[in-house]
């Protein structure tokens, strides 16, 4: 008899599709948070599969700090057109008009205004009762205990001490007006699963993930992309370095890494060999130990 067993990637895919459908069936106004990154790209593909032959039946929300890479904006707009997405772009315009930027505010305050605040405002403005996010439990320790349906009170806050137990694949969607559920369909995927799936499924990604000669500012062990008028210190000069981005955030907070991985297989080889967890190059997580948990309690995704 032929063996009927799914590969681990197809098993993860089936689980995620089940989550997407469950949310669309049970919530009245779901939205998907779209960061333009690789995890978002995988989420889009899973959503396409869940509702094929229909189009993705919910809007896609991009919280734009306006400090993203130019290539990300291009990629986003092209993809939205191609897939016929209902793309909503939201910025904390008031903060931006008041001159919010990471160089003067520091990463924590900048993130609080341009990401966390902007996200909470956008969710409230849209009246969304459920929001899909691409977070994975393997990313960071505080995320290991996150539920797939993560309850947020009416201030958008997460209480790690008071989470609903989650058994089997039976999810509790009950909330009161003003409360929301953040849903994480990629909870059980690892970084390597994401890359393998992108390869197997031939999913388009922002080219910044692959290595290329790019003009960078090298400062100690940090390699910093030069966009958005990055304040260069006296004596510093950009140089061409062959780099790739391990994860894509704002240009200032995304450290690049030296790499020769020009293709996906090369990239995965590097990952297996280097074994550095991907958020490490994001400056934001290293401000204080456990800083991600603090941000999440405040409403960060």
């Amino acid at each position: 008899m032929e063996t009927r067993i799914l590969s681990h990637l197809r098993a993860l895919e089936a689980e995620s599709i089940h989550i997407f459908r469950e949310v669309v069936a049970e919530f009245s106004n779901p939205v998907m948070l779209y960061s333009v990154g690789k995890d978002s790209s995988v989420m889009l593909r899973l959503a396409q599969k869940a509702f094929h032959p229909a189009k993705i039946p919910f809007p896609v929300l991009h919280i734009d700090t306006s400090y993203k890479f130019e290539e990300m904006y291009e990629f986003r707009d092209n993809l939205a057109k191609e897939l016929g997405l209902n793309l909503i772009v939201h910025k904390n315009q008031a903060a931006l008009d008041a001159g919010a930027n990471p160089f003067d505010l520091g990463t924590q305050k900048c993130c609080a205004q341009l990401k966390t605040r902007a996200l909470l405002d956008a969710l409230e403005a849209g009246g969304y009762d459920a929001a899909f996010g691409g977070a994975r439990r393997d990313e960071e320790k505080s995320r290991a205990k996150e539920r797939i349906y993560s309850f947020r009170d009416k201030f958008g806050q997460w209480d790690p001490k008071n989470q609903r137990p989650e058994l089997w694949n039976v999810y509790n969607c009950k909330i009161e007006k003003g409360e929301t559920i953040r849903v994480f369909p990629l909870s059980n995927w690892t970084e390597l699963d994401i890359w393998r799936y992108i390869e197997v499924e031939n999913i388009p990604i922002v080219p910044l993930y692959l290595a290329k000669e790019r003009p960078m500012l090298v400062r100690g062990s940090s390699i910093i992309p030069l966009e958005h008028n990055y304040p260069v210190k006296e004596g510093e000069k950009p140089e061409m370095v062959k780099v790739r981005m391990r994860s894509l955030g704002c240009t200032y907070c995304t450290g690049a890494m030296r790499s020769d991985a020009e293709t996906l297989p090369q990239l995965m080889d590097e990952l297996v060999q280097f074994k550095r967890s991907e958020r490490e190059n994001r400056i934001i997580d290293h401000d204080t130990e456990g800083s991600m948990e603090i941000k999440k309690r405040e409403g960060y995704f």
Partner: protein, 567 residues
Amino acid sequence: MSVESQLLRFTTAGSVDDGKSTLIGRLLYEAKGVYEDQLASVQNSSVNRSTGPIDFSLLTDGLRAEREQGITIDVAYRYAATPRRKFIIADTPGHEQYTRNMATGASTADLAIVLIDARKGVLVQSRRHAFITSLLGIRYVAVAVNKMDLVDFREDVFRKIETEFMAYAQSVGLKNVAFFPISALEGDNITEPSARTPWYTGPSLLEHLENVDLVEARNFTDLRFPVQYVNRPTLDFRGYTGQLASGILRPGQTVMTLPSGRITKVKSLPSFDGDLSEAFPPMSVTVCLEDEVDISRGDMLVDPDRVPHVSRRFAAKLVWMHETPGEAERDYLLKHTSQTVRAQISKIRHRIDINTLAEQPANKLELNEIASIQVETRRPLFFDSYGQNRTTGSFILIDPVSNATVAAGMIEESTAESLEPLKLGSLEFSGETEATVTPAERYKRAGHYPATVWLTARQDLAGMLERKLFDLGCYVHVLADDRESHLLPELARVLNSAGLIAICSIASPDPAEAQRAQELAGDTRFLLVDPQKLPVHDEEASEVLMKMLEDRGVLRRKERFEVGEGI
């Protein structure tokens, strides 16, 4: 890790000092689930509790509050992979008050690692872990006898634990139990055989995790497809989406829809990657059917020859998960597959002491208590026992006021068939007759399901139908309403519970009686025929009725009777 590697979900149960976090940390480290910078951050940690070698436990204790208290207090999920398998590890605390978390972690697991401290032997808590493992239906148990280095790797210590635990495991119905003498701290028998246990010839723990059989555990025979969402992008496309709980789906296959009982065929299995020729669990698929049938979320596609139980009443084991106690006759929301219904605990039969397994009377259920209960739902559910099907046998209870998930339920083997309580004159049949013969067994012998056919003003037709069914090999009986007509619904139900098809021949219509009969027989097993719509000739009319019974799945297809397959 290759693209074709398989997924194994396992859970770990152990107490605070059994070295569970150290074992998981070690497995993650060996199976490359830990990143260098995470390791570095552990080495820098402000609360590094131990001195000396790397404290692997700090890799897994997640949240700040826990790090300060030094104990794990919630289920945390970890990931590791070898070239053969990807592992999802539900790391659950073994502390007494956290039965809730252990049950949560166990609910999705294929395998449980139970940790036992070699110095302490089988403790009350080890039994507790074995019991919850069995309660949540985990197929494989790996007992890791840890800290063997502290008992000089003595075989007699290991064997004693093995014997003692095995006796207990059998008493709670656990099969497939394997034992491993390990030292999580020093790495013995974790990835490869240890030179310090020459008397142990089995595989290392990781080898075992890579090799347990994942196919054998799957059910490919009983089709259960809970409809999650109806996809209707255009007027001419109607796809029923869901995740296959068990059984196989193929184009052309005959399926029954519940609760309507209609029989139809699978037209196609469209997907983003083209039409599928077959789907098996746990695939998430879209099903298009041959006929226009009215199906919505919460309905289920099943194999007409192997239907689930359809009832508003059933027995279950419950794990109470909330500070607010659970009480009988309070309203809850019950979510079962893709269906959410109002429900009550109609009766708490007893509470189970998880340390001694003693059954105790109880009026209410406190946090972390386990009980045997009766449930009554507003609408019928389609279910199997949890032992047979983890998806169609499980449910959660939600408090309709606080919206909290308050309990997890496992539907029990249907030895106690839960039926409507019956009153027949002075005789009273309770709803909980302990049946030694199950409906499934009756079906197997009879070759058909019980049903009630409600016929008005067609006495001759009733007789003809009885003859036809009898000639086909069915157990059937006509009940006429010449006397005591108000008892017909109850009498029909008694015949049904004996596995018979009851034909009720009524002189004049009585909608209230018909409704009562329908309630007692259950929607799918009740056939009410509008006399206006039946052909006037009895011969033709009986053919129509036979066809209807086939469509409901009461009878197997006629052709199958003729070849005598499987009867």
